[in-house]
């Protein structure tokens, strides 16, 4: 690769140049889409391995790159933001801080209904990892709220997909394909989202309930017409809590929260009365640890899923997730060896398969990510391999980082 003439592309001091224990030969920080494009073009020409990040908060969400010639940091791209409040739509640069975006939208009484699961994330990082928190129960996951995207392909070509209107079926929905693709298909530079008004009132109803009762409670709330925004569960240090978020008008949210509390008052449980709080509990929407297994299951199988997880974990583990959606994450204690992790993951995968679900290692230590098959069996992998071969035929973007090991 030629020496970049533009000063901004000079290799930076690698404050964190490693990706899952693999050191990058160079770190480049483009300041414009054109520079990014040039870097990717050169990388393709040289068949380099490239890993893209912005705030480097989720580099441990993926396997070790099979080669890492260049790390591209997007944090010097201009963090653009164009908010069309009247249209409830925002166009945000990939490098924009997710909390900056939220603050800006809040000024207009609006929000992007995606929780910031990992603090310090950029807009592009949230989309690339498709990390969604509790609000997805009511508002959908990242894929459901993205309307369009601008991106640079592995060959350096810029392109866009979707648009900035809430309804649009012109062409393929490439934006959705890029959601959760971990930067292995293209590099996002801009995302367009659908927004919602910030509800006038939010109330969280929390009840300490044994796991099986909590699952039944989640089911009862979901089956009711109380129209709640999120149904979350947390099992930490042996304390099992179901928390339900109710949003709406001042009086309405209170009344429905009371309705939820009523539903969660099971006669058979050694209950403490459900509590109504203006703020959600401290664990709300955060990951249950540094090493996290993410399970998914048919929502109706929540009780079985919880039981299965409990049967292979102890109080050193944290279990947390969206019971109403059908996903629970397991925070694995630091003391767990890679060998134990492999065994745990294998057992859970067999069990969750029967529930129509999957188990992935969402994030872990470099050693764990390198030892463990993070993604497990992937239905449709043959089609995904062909998509990857089309978008990135030279295997430049995130080699070895995502499913299939490409």
């Amino acid at each position: 690769m030629t020496t970049p003439s533009n000063g901004s592309r000079l290799a930076r001091l690698p404050h964190q140049s490693g990706v899952v224990g693999v050191e990058a030969k160079r770190v480049l920080a483009p300041t414009s889409e054109e520079e990014l494009s040039g870097i990717l073009r050169e990388a393709s020409a040289e068949r380099s391995g490239v890993v893209v990040s912005c705030n480097a908060t989720k580099l441990n969400f993926g396997a070790a790159p099979s080669r890492l010639d260049v790390r591209i940091e997007l944090d010097r791209l201009t963090p653009q933001l164009a908010h069309s409040a009247g249209d409830l739509v925002v166009r945000a640069g990939a490098s924009l801080g997710f909390d900056d975006l939220r603050a800006e939208l809040a000024n207009a009484g609006q929000r992007l209904s995606i929780d910031e699961v990992v603090p310090g994330s950029s807009v592009g990082g949230v989309v690339a990892t498709a990390l969604a928190g509790p609000l997805r129960y009511r508002y959908g996951a990242v894929r459901d709220l993205i309307l369009g995207a601008r991106f640079v392909r592995a060959d350096g070509q810029s392109a866009k997909a979707g648009g900035s209107v809430v309804k649009n079926v012109a062409g393929y929905d490439v934006s959705k394909l890029l959601c959760g693709s971990h930067g292995t298909l293209a590099v996002l530079t801009e995302c367009i989202f659908r927004l919602h008004p910030i509800p006038r009132r939010s109330v969280t109803v929390s009840a300490e309930l044994p796991a099986a009762v909590a699952a039944a409670g989640a089911q009862a709330v979901a089956a009711s017409d109380l129209d709640v925004a999120a149904i979350e569960y947390n099992l930490e240090g042996g304390t099992s809590i179901l928390s339900v978020l109710v949003e709406g008008s001042s009086e309405g949210a209170e009344r429905r929260a009371a309705g939820v509390a009523e539903l969660l008052s099971f006669d058979s449980s050694p209950r403490r009365a459900a509590r109504l709080d203006p703020e959600p509990p401290s664990w709300w929407g955060s990951l249950p640890g540094d090493t996290v297994l993410k399970t998914t299951f048919a929502p109706g199988e929540a009780a079985t899923a919880l039981e299965l997880i409990k049967s292979v974990t102890d109080d050193a583990f944290v279990v947390r997730g969206s019971l109403g959606v059908g996903t629970l994450s397991i925070g694995v204690p630091e003391s767990t060896s890679s060998g134990e992790l492999v065994e745990l993951l294998g057992g859970l995968r067999r069990s969750f398969r029967a529930l129509g679900g999957t188990v992935q290692l969402l994030c872990g230590t470099p050693e764990q990510n390198s030892t463990v098959d993070m993604f497990g069996p992937v239905p449709g992998l043959d089609l995904m391999a062909r998509i990857k071969a089309q978008f990135d035929p030279l295997g430049v973007l995130g080699p070895g980082r995502f499913v299939g090991g490409w």
Partner: protein, 493 residues
């Protein structure tokens, strides 16, 4: 039935022979008269008699049919009820039309997981009917929901009046089984969320039958709201109604639906179904649903917005029967227009909500002295316009003028940052417009997905994309200049 020599090409003849062997003679239609009944979808100006029609009864037969097409490199088109409005299901004269209406089993209703698993020939409304008594519904509700099939909904990413609040088909499909354009079977997702890897569901839903055929669909159910209120508001002009829509959205309320009709559309439905709409420049139908007290509060906010924007009349419906009456006019609008005009074009475009007033005013000026009229019936809440361009083909020059006006409406949508289609799809009809919205490189990128699923472009060829991408090209590096010429540049860096 007489045996007819079909054979536009030798390949189709060979395919017919194999199809009869595989599916049996009753499932294969070669008679020309019977084939002719499938020559178009709901957009009747585009017609082509299919080379042969097959009516498989299960997923295996669909896969076998596709395998035969792939073996002989014969194109195929999947078709549900044929209600599409973009000629997306128009057959190939030298290909196979695969009609999926016999795959109509509701495979599983899982209320605990709030999922239903169906075959593609099940109609949209049948899903809601299957779960209605239990308090659930399937949210996407295209106007044709009584007859349109879920397979077609998946292909088109169908919306409907209530997608303002509830989203589109793509937000409600959690699993798909089927066969890709090159015959690869796939099973992605299911009742659980977040299948690992790339979002193939997101890529497939809305791909207009160009990536393959879905033979099993898992959809999400939504709990029926506690309360539904429908409001009808009349305005002196469409501009005032448009401003009222913006005000409602700005007030922080998200209604389930906001529909608008202009004076000409109102006139048409009054003639056709006597919906008893007020005489007005425009009416809005606004539906608010949810918990009773939220609906009461939202209703007050909406009514305040409507009054502040000079609504001349306000009606409400709270019972199902009253609601049905208010909706009757809206739902019959397209058909009703046929009573006041011998011919019309149904257009489908999207503008940002804030541009509604401006675009509608410009559309009003497009007709000039052509004699063509435009009736507006549309999903105002999400900016999805359905202008009906009315003309009389018997009058010389009117059809051409109507087509020109229709094209100008789409250009207006794109100029205002909108889309060439909100729900009808590109199909064959808008293949000439998609380049207004996307560059060559945008379209080329989309077709990388096509190349992955259907490298030989056998599945619904000739739709969506004006210029096919050649899939077998060797890996190459593109020059970053404006030409996007894509010559191999290996070694230049």
């Amino acid at each position: 039935m007489t045996d007819v020599t079909i054979a536009p090409t030798r390949a189709v003849e060979l395919v017919v022979h194999r199809l009869v062997q595989q599916l049996g003679p009753d499932a294969v239609i070669t008679d020309e008269l019977r084939r002719r009944t499938y020559e178009c979808d709901g957009l009747t100006q585009h017609r082509s008699i299919p080379g042969v029609v097959v009516l498989p009864t299960n997923a295996e037969q669909v896969a076998a049919t596709v395998a035969i097409c792939v073996a002989y490199q014969v194109p195929f088109v999947a078709r549900g009820a044929g209600t599409g409005l973009s000629a997306g299901a128009m057959p190939s004269s030298d290909g196979v039309l695969i009609v999926l209406t016999k795959l109509r089993a509701v495979i599983e209703v899982d209320l605990e997981s709030r999922r239903v698993v169906v075959e593609p020939g099940v109609t949209n409304l049948e899903i809601s009917e299957a779960v209605s008594a239990s308090g659930y519904f399937y949210a996407p509700d295209p106007s044709s929901q009584q007859v349109c099939t879920i397979g077609g909904n998946v292909a088109e990413n169908s919306g409907g009046a209530h997608c303002l609040k509830y989203g589109f088909t793509t937000n409600h499909v959690t699993g798909l089984k089927g066969v890709s354009g090159d015959g690869t079977p796939f099973a992605i997702g299911g009742k659980a969320p977040d299948p690992p890897g790339y979002d193939l569901l997101g890529a497939f839903v809305g791909s207009e039958g160009t990536l393959g055929i879905a033979t099993e669909v898992t959809v999400r159910l939504v709990r029926k709201p506690e309360t539904i209120v429908t409001l009808l508001a009349a305005f002196e002009s469409i501009d005032l109604a448009g401003s009222a829509v913006s005000a409602v959205i700005a007030s922080g309320v998200l209604p389930a639906a906001i529909e608008m009709m202009d004076a000409l559309a109102i006139e048409a439905v009054e003639v056709a179904v006597h919906a008893n709409y007020p005489k007005a420049g425009a009416v809005l139908l606004i539906e608010i649903d949810g918990p009773a007290d939220e609906v009461a509060i939202d209703r007050a906010l909406v009514e305040a917005s409507l009054v502040a924007h000079h609504a001349t009349e306000l009606r409400s419906a709270e019972s199902a029967a009253e609601r049905a009456l208010l909706w009757k006019g809206r739902k019959s609008a397209f058909a009703a227009v046929g009573r006041i005009s011998p011919h019309f074009i149904v257009q489908d475009g999207v503008v940002p909500r804030t541009a509604l007033g401006e675009v509608l005013a410009k559309i009003g000026k497009l007709t000039g002295d052509t004699g063509v009229r435009v009736a507006n019936v549309f999903h105002a809440g999400d900016g999805n316009l359905h202008p009906l361009v009315l003309f009389d083909a018997a009058i010389e020059g009117q059809q051409a003028a109507a087509e020109e006006i229709s094209a100008q409406i789409i250009a207006l949508c794109v100029d205002h940052g909108g889309s060439i289609t909100g729900e009808h799809g590109v199909g064959l009809d808008k293949i000439g417009s998609i380049s207004k919205m996307f560059t060559h490189d945008d379209l080329d990128t989309m077709q990388m997905i096509r190349c992955a699923f259907d490298p030989d472009r056998l599945s619904n060829p000739g739709k969506i994309f004006p210029t096919p991408r050649l899939c077998g090209e060797a890996p190459r590096v593109r020059r970053g200049d404006a030409t996007g010429s894509g010559e191999a540049l290996t070694g230049l860096f």
